[in-house]
Amino acid sequence: MPDAQSKRKVGSQIIEISVNGERHEISVKPRHTLVEVLREKLGLTGTKDGCEQGVCGVCTVLLEGRPVLACITLALECHGKEVRTVEGLAQGETLSVVQQAFLDQGAVQCGFCTPGMLMSVTALLEKNANPSLPEIKKALEGNLCRCTGYNAIVAAVQQAAGQGVKPVMQ
């Protein structure tokens, strides 16, 4: 075991990333993905791991404000960059308007797609405060949800964007 491990140390590099505003220096190998760094090295398990094939969207995080699939983003690419994850959305106990809207609209069932959805929606609304339905669909086309049929998720985005959609849950 010791030599197996030391052999694999070859090629490790230190990267510096900021995650939810906190700076980290982390030793990574070229094959390590961002989702591994977040979940395994930093213990930020809010970001989910669903397919490792870059197709389900549950691992979506924001890299420099843009949604990326952390399962197919290499950790080395994130050196010197700013990452935001679901853990960074709430301010203390206060949920972001997007998080709140997801609860108000029943847009969360099993919750496994939720962290990725929240990040995609957050990125959308930061760029476009008043998205149209096609724009919402475009922004979420890479995020699968098996539970909700997406109807409640669209309503949540519209509520968060202040488009007059009222909460259905109390």
Binding site: M1, D3, A4, Q5, R8, R39, G43, L44, T45, G46, T47, K48, D49, G50, C51, E52, Q53, V55, C56, V58, T85, V86, E87, L89, A90, L95, Q99, F102, L103, D104, G106, V108, Q109, C110, G111, F112, C113, T114, P115, L118, I136, K137, L140, E141, N143, L144, C145, R146, C147, T148, G149, Y150, N151, A152, I153, V154, V168, M169, Q170
Partner: protein, 780 residues
């Protein structure tokens, strides 16, 4: 008791804040120090004899901590069904033979992924390839390859028939003779995966002679039972912990080999072992739903009244029994719930083939058989010149009808469901119009009906709930009920809040841990709101009674004068006499040495029935809760490309009454989406037992672009009264069924093309359109 404060209202999910902040712990989020990575070696062949397994090289690899094969197990078999007729038929690792691609042969535990993967490559297996069979019609021929040569057969001399359900009533031959019109059709359904986003994950830790497990499941108690059995441990030595579950839809009930292997490897290494199924494994080696072939012969009177029906269902059940023998029983049940059938002859066969094993899948046979029956009913209606609404109303079961199995449908709302659905969708105003349109984009409307049982008897048959009062006057609820996304924690909290007159935010809920919570039926028999919910109601009612007794003693008045509101008990005749729960508990501590206030509740359906009905003969009571629904689909079909999509769905259902209407709506929307995937998009493509499209890139699950408008209406047939038992009905899986049938009927309405097999691909639709054009029947 007047107004309800919590029941019938859409409260936000109890688990919501955890789920939107990333705090919710799923099995994959459980971290234990020193965890080893487990991986499974799977069969590359659909059918082969294992001549030799050599694990020595793998064992010798640095970083490998354990390697197991079937020789390291106790050889105890398990099965989804374990009855005298259908005894457990599967070992946790293959012994001597593999019968499907992906069958588990060996497992390793190593210090990391890479080492575990290398170890698998070092395991040497010699195979002798055996002939395989994939088509059930071929598999039942006498000379077909025998998949389980030593199994007792359900029907000699056929090969590979793993199970048979045969039942009926009346005299079908006489019924057909009496009929004015008889029609025979054959329908087929296809292979679909469940599509849960969370991959199967198990982490097991053997510590102090006890096994701790976190695993993706739909019921921690059933998992404990199967793990304890196959590991040959007492139930009490196995603790399945609570973990949130990222979608199930039927696919996380069975014991999976990786769950056993994680546990066994941990017992050997004395370190935690985690096994995660890759998405490719899930597509290629795990359990999907059940493709059925359905032959249906129906005789009716001129007015559309069903006189006789003969049904034969053949299930391609894969290489082990799985739930294959259940689905052929259920297909009978889902046949007889909605419509009166005076004479029925039913036969279902579950046939072994060299495919992966099948699991229950949301609806468990219902979407398939309703698609068949409802499609044929529309054909009959058209042949007789009757509209789809009238023919359904003519045959729909009425309230309080007795079913042929002895069950009663109680306040069945089917007739109202059909009427409301027809009215709300302007069904007859739209029906038949699309086909006549001049454009190449056609609209069509179709209807489908279904009925579903709730909370039948299967281990552990019933649910217990404990409510204990804290000194501050708030309740803590202990329930074995698992929240897989349906919202059970919220629903149970609403019931406790209502019964105890406490704020829902003050209800603390601890769930689905086999050590700390009472036994529970689990989220897989469509009965948690009814069974576990009634247990919660009882437990909370028990607490309420104790609090009232204490207050009555303190106020020195008869209990009947006491009122209860917002955690306060008061004397209706003397407003000065009032005590908060907190004060009552403090008083109890001071005067009665503080006996803790704990309420217990237990519920089980059909208390006097010992067990579930016979899978082979259908004899015995099945359920006391039958839910009904009528669904309408509006589709758009491009007759030049064959592309079709669901534009609008309407679901009118009788779930008794909704405890949380928004949660019910969430179930409906999700089922509509799943059904449109079933109809148009999803198919696990296979060749010779190999999966050709093992990723979501090639397996098209509905994305947000396929979202359909989903409307609903609830036909309320039952009510909730504080302190009384209530009856809710199934709402979480039956509604994938009527809508599938409705989509098929809507495609016909739009195009004149009758599709007899799912999925409704552009190729099939185009073929039908062209055929109509050739026959001169094409409209345009």
């Amino acid at each position: 008791m007047g107004e309800l404060s919590y029941i019938g209202k859409s409260f936000r999910r109890k688990d919501g804040p955890d789920k939107v902040t990333g705090r919710a712990m799923y099995s994959q989020d459980v971290k234990l120090p020193g965890t080893l990575i487990g991986r499974i070696l799977r069969s590359p062949h659909p059918h082969a004899r294992i001549l030799r397994i050599d694990t020595s090289k793998a064992r010798a690899l640095p970083g490998v901590k354990a390697v197991i094969t079937v020789d390291d197990t106790k050889g105890i078999k398990h099965g989804f069904v374990e009855t005298p007729r259908y005894p457990p038929d599967q070992e946790v690792l293959a012994r001597g033979r593999v019968v499907h691609v992906g069958e588990e042969i060996a497992a390793v535990a190593a210090i990391d992924q890479l080492t575990a993967r290398q170890a698998l490559e070092l395991i040497e297996v010699d195979y002798e390839i055996l002939p395989a069979v994939f088509d059930p019609d071929e598999a039942i021929q006498p000379d077909a390859p025998q998949i389980h040569p030593t199994h007792p057969k359900a029907q000699v001399p056929f090969s590979n028939i793993g199970g048979r359900t045969a039942t009926g009533w009346g005299d079908v031959e006489a019924g057909f003779a009496e009929s004015d019109y008889v029609r025979e059709d054959r329908f087929e359904s296809h292979l679909r995966t469940h599509g849960y986003l969370e991959p199967h994950t198990t982490i097991a830790h053997w510590e102090n002679e006890r096994l701790n497990v976190w695993t993706s499941s739909m019921g921690t108690f059933i998992k404990r039972a199967k793990l304890a059995k196959t590991l040959d441990l007492p139930y009490s030595a196995v603790r399945v912990h609570k973990a949130y579950v990222g979608g199930t839809f039927g696919g996380k009930i069975d014991l999976y080999s990786h769950e056993y292997c994680a546990a066994r490897l941990s017992m050997i290494t004395r370190r935690p072992v985690r096994i995660v199924a890759t998405r490719e494994d899930i597509f290629a080696a795990y359990r999907h739903g059940q493709p059925l072939a359905m032959e249906i012969k129906t005789g009716v009177k001129k007015d559309g009244t069903i006189v006789a029906q003969q049904i034969r269902v053949i299930n391609n059940s894969g290489a082990y029994r799985g739930s294959g023998v259940v689905v052929i029983f259920l297909a009978w049940g889902f046949t007889m719930i909605p419509y009166r059938i005076p004479n029925l002859k039913y036969e279902g066969l579950s046939v072994y083939t060299n495919y992966t094993v099948r699991a229950p899948q949301r609806g468990h046979g219902c979407p398939q058989i309703r698609f068949a029956i409802e499609s044929q009913l529309d054909r009959i209606a058209e042949d007789l010149g009757i509209d789809p609404v009238t023919i359904r109303l003519r045959n729909a079961r009425k309230p309080w009808e007795e079913l042929p199995n002895g069950d009663n449908v109680h306040e069945a709302g089917l007739i109202d469901c059909i009427k409301v659905a027809a009215e709300k969708s302007d069904f007859l105003g739209k029906y038949g119009k699309g086909r006549k349109a001049a454009s190449t984009i056609r609209r069509g409307i179709g209807m489908g009906v279904s009925g579903y049982f709730g909370g039948s008897l299967i281990y552990p048959n019933g649910s217990g709930v404990i409510v204990k009062m804290n000194d501050d006057g708030t309740p803590t609820v202990l329930t074995g009920g698992i929240d897989v996304g349906q919202g059970s924690e919220t629903v149970i909290s609403q019931i406790v809040a209502e019964e105890l007159a406490v704020n829902i935010d003050d209800v603390k809920i601890i769930s689905s841990d086999t050590d700390t919570t009472p036994q529970d039926i689990g989220a897989w028999i469509s009965g948690m709101t009814y069974v576990t919910g009634n247990a919660a109601r009882q437990a909370a009612g028990n607490v309420r009674q104790q609090l009232l007794d204490l207050a009555a003693l303190r106020f020195n008045v008869d209990i009947k004068h006491l009122g209860i509101k917002d955690r306060v008990i008061f004397n209706r005749n003397d407003p000065g006499q009032r005590m908060t729960y907190r004060e009552i508990i403090a008083h109890s501590i001071a005067t009665r040495r503080g006996d803790t206030i704990i309420g217990e509740g237990f519920w089980r359906t059909m208390r006097d029935e010992p067990t579930h009905p016979s899978l082979a003969t259908t004899k015995g009571r099945w359920s006391e809760n039958y839910a009904y629904s009528c669904q309408v689909a509006e589709v758009e079909v491009d007759i030049e490309s064959g592309e079709a999509r669901l534009i609008k769905a309407l679901t009118v259902h009788d779930c008794g009454f909704p405890i949380n209407p928004a949660l019910v709506k969430g179930q409906i929307d999700g089922q509509v989406s799943m059904a449109l995937g079933h109809a148009f998009l999803e198919e696990v493509l296979t060749k010779n037992g190999y999966t050709l499209n093992p990723t979501w890139l090639d397996y098209r699950m509905p994305t947000i672009h396929e979202m359909a408008a989903s409307d609903d209406a609830d036909v309320i047939t039952e009510q909730y009264v504080v302190g009384k038992p209530y009856r809710t009905k199934e709402v979480g899986e039956g509604l994938v069924s009527g809508i599938l049938a409705a989509i098929a009927n809507a495609v016909y309405d739009a195009t004149g093309v009758r599709l007899t097999s799912t999925p409704f691909t552009p190729e099939k639709i185009l073929k039908g359109v062209r055929k109509l054009a050739r026959e001169g029947k094409g409209r345009q």
